[in-house]
């Protein structure tokens, strides 16, 4: 039988507020254990939560940016379960009246568009961190608890099970990441756990409408792990079903080192979260004016920006998609072309040499050693034929460590392109004279032999000869 996967994601997105969701402790990542804590986030006897206004603003903005309806009446609830990273043994979250519901985002996988529906977006507090004494939770005789992260604000973005492959799930999560970055509500640093996904996967026979039994993988924190976990789980479930077995509804952990998912086999009771309205927090009532105010503050979103780049600058859909996938890159692009650099060249340089360099060094584009202005200037040198594309690569390499303007670098290093016909002619004559075999080959009908001669001319000019002119002159002389 052929199966199709049904995949849904719950993405937890840490918000970039200064303080926690229910108290004034700082949210800074990486502080010493148990230093960003107070009686409130430690859940001490007698404490009460207070709602950080920014969190509500961010929740509404995230809802608007993902085409959700904003609930005019929203409230917090207690989700009760015991875990040592949760000091009150309940998570203050939202149950039946989340801040936003019924949205969607569009994704694009290999040129195929698909709309993924959002069930809801709700606000909640993050839990603390456990440091286990052993290598895994299972072989640890004890664990240590750090409550710094307790109370860091989260949005939980819940999708409908609308995805059917790991690629779609990845594209969806990338889209959510991109939108959250654009509206500036999260740093979205996956390595710091700003963005984590719980994945639900089930299989059903192709064509069937009924959903199969699903498994859940929690806290997936990279795109690679997301894809690996889903692909492994699809294969695993397929095998179980092919063998006539049943899928057990359970939470599984993903082991990135081995690329497999494992049953938690915990004896936990079926969860009964005993949700109840949070009596310590009055409801959130949002007026149409507030919603419109927040809507007016939203920046241009990735889809709109991509369309604009295609229309205004003639970028391909693919290039525009990559450039606009992160707000920082899109802004970098805008800055590069601001002074007249060619948009297509700019896109090529950003997606090519610049991205390669940044990825290799693990640097964010906003901190690029070659800022947008200098890259723009360099591209203009290419446009003015001051340097060739090939020389530009040399100039770019130099710019990574040399803060001078590209113009100065080109001058200092003597990299200005030779466009003087006389000078190039001299080199061409010399090369023709010294490479009789290639000349003979060419004349004998092997037109490809010209390539070797061009190479020799470029080499002799230290790469500075204008390649078009070299080609033209060589052809003239050999054919003439």
């Amino acid at each position: 039988m052929k199966y199709e996967a049904v995949i849904g994601l719950e993405i937890h997105c840490e918000l970039k507020t200064k303080t926690k969701i229910f108290c004034g402790c700082a949210t800074t990542f990486g502080a010493d254990q148990n230093t960003h804590v107070c009686p409130v986030c430690l859940g001490m006897p007698g404490v009460l939560p207070t709602i950080n206004k920014r969190v509500v603003e961010f929740g509404i903005k995230a809802g608007l940016a993902t085409n959700c309806e904003i609930n005019k009446y929203s409230k917090f609830d207690r989700k009760n379960y015991y875990y040592p990273d949760l000091p009150k043994n309940w998570q203050t979250s939202q149950y039946d009246l989340p801040i936003a519901e019924h949205g969607w985002v569009d994704i694009d996988v290999e040129g195929k568009k698909k709309r993924i529906r959002l069930t809801r977006i709700h606000m909640e507090e993050d839990a603390g961190k456990l440091v286990h004494s052993g290598t895994t939770i299972k072989d640890s005789a004890s664990s240590n608890v750090d409550y710094n992260r307790t109370g860091v604000p989260l949005l939980e973005i819940v999708s409908e099970p609308d995805m059917s492959s790991a690629e779609e799930a990845r594209a969806y999560m990338e889209k959510i990441k991109s939108i959250m970055e654009y509206i500036d509500v999260s740093n979205c640093r996956m390595e710091e756990g700003n963005l984590r996904a719980d994945i639900n996967v089930s299989l059903r026979p192709v064509g069937s409408k009924e959903l199969g039994t699903r498994t859940e993988m929690k806290n997936i924190n990279s795109f690679k792990n997301l894809e690996d976990a889903i692909n492994y789980e699809i294969e695993r479930q397929e095998e179980v079903l092919e063998d006539g077995g049943h899928i057990v509804q359970e939470t599984r952990t993903f082991d990135p080192a081995r690329g497999i998912t494992l049953s938690m086999r915990s004896k936990e009771n079926a969860h009964d979260y005993r949700y109840m309205p949070e009596p310590d927090l009055p409801p959130i009532v949002t007026s149409e004016e507030t919603i419109e105010k927040y809507r007016s503050e939203l920046p241009e979103l990735p889809d709109a920006r991509r369309a604009r780049l295609e229309q205004e600058y003639g970028l391909s859909e693919y290039d525009a998609g990559i450039i606009t996938s992160s707000r920082a890159m899109a802004e970098y692009f805008d800055a590069v072309i601001a002074d007249g650099a060619d948009p297509k060249l700019a896109a090529n340089w950003i997606m090519g040499d610049l991205s390669k360099e940044l990825n290799a060094e693990g640097i964010d584009i906003s901190k690029s050693p070659v800022d947008a202005k200098r890259l723009g200037e360099m591209i203009q040198l290419i446009m003015k034929d001051t340097i060739s594309g090939k020389i530009a690569k040399k100039v770019f390499k130099e710019m990574l460590t040399n803060p001078d303007s590209p113009e100065k670098i080109v001058k200092d290093k003597g990299l200005v392109q030779i466009t003087d016909t006389k000078a190039i002619e001299g080199i061409v004559d010399e090369v023709i004279a010294n490479n009789q075999k290639a000349v003979d080959d060419y004349k004998g009908g092997n037109k490809k032999a010209i390539g070797a001669l061009v190479g020799q001319v470029m080499k002799a000019s230290k790469g500075k000869a204008n390649p078009q002119m070299v080609n033209k002159l060589l052809a003239e002389k050999l054919n003439g």
Binding site: P45, L48, P49, T50, K88, M276, P279, L281
Partner: protein, 489 residues
């Protein structure tokens, strides 16, 4: 007459007029503690040295000619579920036996700003669950009027200490009658302010939507003065009221002419002690004499209030008390694994009544029962509130007994939880509706136990309650009578 017998406002005037020193006053109250605390057992923690140091500082201030605030130098006691920075706060539970809060409750901060003398922390039913203070994990407190009887609860230590003269004033908390009922049993004045009047920040939560801190005092004048101190919006408590706080002492006027007093028939029902009914009706008669108008009213959903309360309060409590798990504070009973540690800790360190309410609460919240119990109770809460809204269209205040009986004997009801819950019939409806209510002494039973009159006001209208209470109080002498016990003879 000893100093401990006087109310705070009289002692304040004496301090101002240099008729007495704060140290002499504090020493007299501490002496009273030495004399009778063995019989009353109102305290869980006595901060003797700190109290004397505070008194000394106040005397120095007075000597320098500086003005002093109302509570300055006046010894008082704090219920042990109100967090006091650096002073153990146990909630009369073993699970918090050694818990020292790193912060003060907001009400405590406001009280401390007055420079009072804090004598210590007083006993209560564990986590404020109970109406007799027998549920304290440490010891029961005895009623100063008859030490065989309970002082009521859960603020039994607050009421007993004020009645016995082992404190001049006290703070208590009221979730279903926990200030008013012990005030009634001990013959003192107790006020539960409107929900939100006093910040709950630092009040260890029992049932968050019902809890409220309030004063327990010798007379209505002290009550109004302390209310002035503790009320007001607090940014740490999102449910605290932003309404302006009036000067409650301006309501200390003897005038009830034309005041419309509602008498709800549902509060005078079967099972009510005839002496209580008679005494309360006599007090109502007195109001009539003083010029008030008595109006018969009906609060038809009163009979459902106990059920609603004993579902809502335990449900909130079940979640509120989940935090006591032995992880980051409080006692821990060790076990090899986490679930075992949490379960052992809670099983061994919580008392019977607390565990019972946690079980009831979790039952009411659990899947399959939520709609039938918890949701239903919240709907009934709406109906109870609507009853009052309707009634207050016709009357200015509502009067009723505070409790259906005078103080009962220690041990008399402890084995029958439901019987104990039914004792709260006259007090819990207000908490459900968030309304203010006061208990003032209005007479005695044949055996000499105090009986309380409950005065219920509109939301945020403590002033009318104070005016009504003050007028009656001044027409009687109950507020000048101290419990007869120990060294008082």
């Amino acid at each position: 007459m000893r100093l401990y017998e006087k109310p705070a406002h009289v002692l304040h005037d004496m301090l101002v007029n240099k008729e007495v020193t704060a140290v002499a006053l504090t020493e007299d109250v501490l002496k009273r503690i030495d004399e009778v605390e063995g019989d009353v057992k109102a305290y869980l923690t006595i901060t003797r040295d700190e109290a004397l140091a505070q008194a000394k500082a106040v005397d120095e201030k007075i000597a320098k000619g500086e003005t002093i605030s109302f509570l300055e130098g006046i010894p008082g006691a704090i219920k042990d579920n109100i967090c006091t920075k650096g002073i153990k706060t146990t909630c009369a539970s073993k699970i918090l036996e050694n818990f020292v809060p790193p912060y003060d409750a907001t009400a405590m901060t406001k009280i401390k700003a007055q420079n009072p003398v804090i004598l210590g922390k007083v006993n209560m039913d564990e986590f404020a669950m109970g109406g007799s203070t027998e549920n304290s994990a440490y010891h029961p407190t005895c009623n100063p009027w008859n030490t065989d009887c309970v002082p009521g609860g859960s603020s039994g230590g607050s009421a007993a200490s004020v009645a016995a003269g082992t404190s001049i004033w006290a703070l208590g908390s009221d979730t279903g009658g926990s200030i008013r009922q012990p005030a009634s049993f001990c013959g003192v004045v107790g006020l539960k302010p409107t929900y939100g009047r006093v910040s709950r920040y630092g009040l260890v939560a029992y049932a968050s939507s019902l809890d409220q801190i309030g004063p327990v005092t010798r007379d209505v004048t002290d009550c109004a003065n302390i209310l002035n101190i503790i009320c007001g919006h607090d940014e740490m408590d999102s449910t605290s009221s932003e309404a302006e706080v009036p000067d409650f002492t301006k309501a200390l006027v003897e005038d009830v002419k034309g005041l419309k007093i509602g008498l709800p028939k549902e509060y005078f029902v079967d099972g009510m002690d005839p002496e209580v009914e008679k005494t309360v009706r006599a007090a109502i008669e007195k109001y009539k004499e003083l010029g008030a108008e008595i109006v018969d009213i009906s609060l038809p959903h009163t009979k459902y209030a106990i059920s609603a309360y004993y579902l809502i309060a335990p449900a909130e409590a079940a979640t509120n008390l989940q935090r006591y798990d032995g992880v980051s504070y409080g006692e821990r009973v060790e076990s090899d694994d986490l679930v075992g540690m949490m379960t052992k800790t809670r099983t061994e360190k919580f008392g019977e009544e607390v565990k019972r309410r946690i079980v009831i609460g979790n039952y009411a919240l659990s899947a399959g029962y939520y709609d039938a119990y918890y949701l239903k109770a919240m709907k009934v809460r709406t109906l109870v509130q609507q009853d009052y809204t309707e009634a207050f269209k016709k009357v200015d205040v509502i009067m009723a007994p505070t409790a259906p009986t005078p103080a009962f004997k220690i041990g008399e009801m402890i084995s029958d939880p439901l019987q104990m819950y039914l004792q709260d019939a006259c007090t819990v409806p207000l908490n459900l509706a968030g309304l203010p209510g006061m208990s003032i002494p209005c007479g005695y039973s044949a055996s000499g136990m105090p009986i309380g009159l409950q005065i219920i006001g509109k939301a945020l209208d403590e002033e009318t309650i104070i005016r009504a209470a003050y007028t009656y109080e001044q027409s009687q002498n109950y507020h000048n009578e101290m419990a007869k016990l120990g060294g008082n003879n």
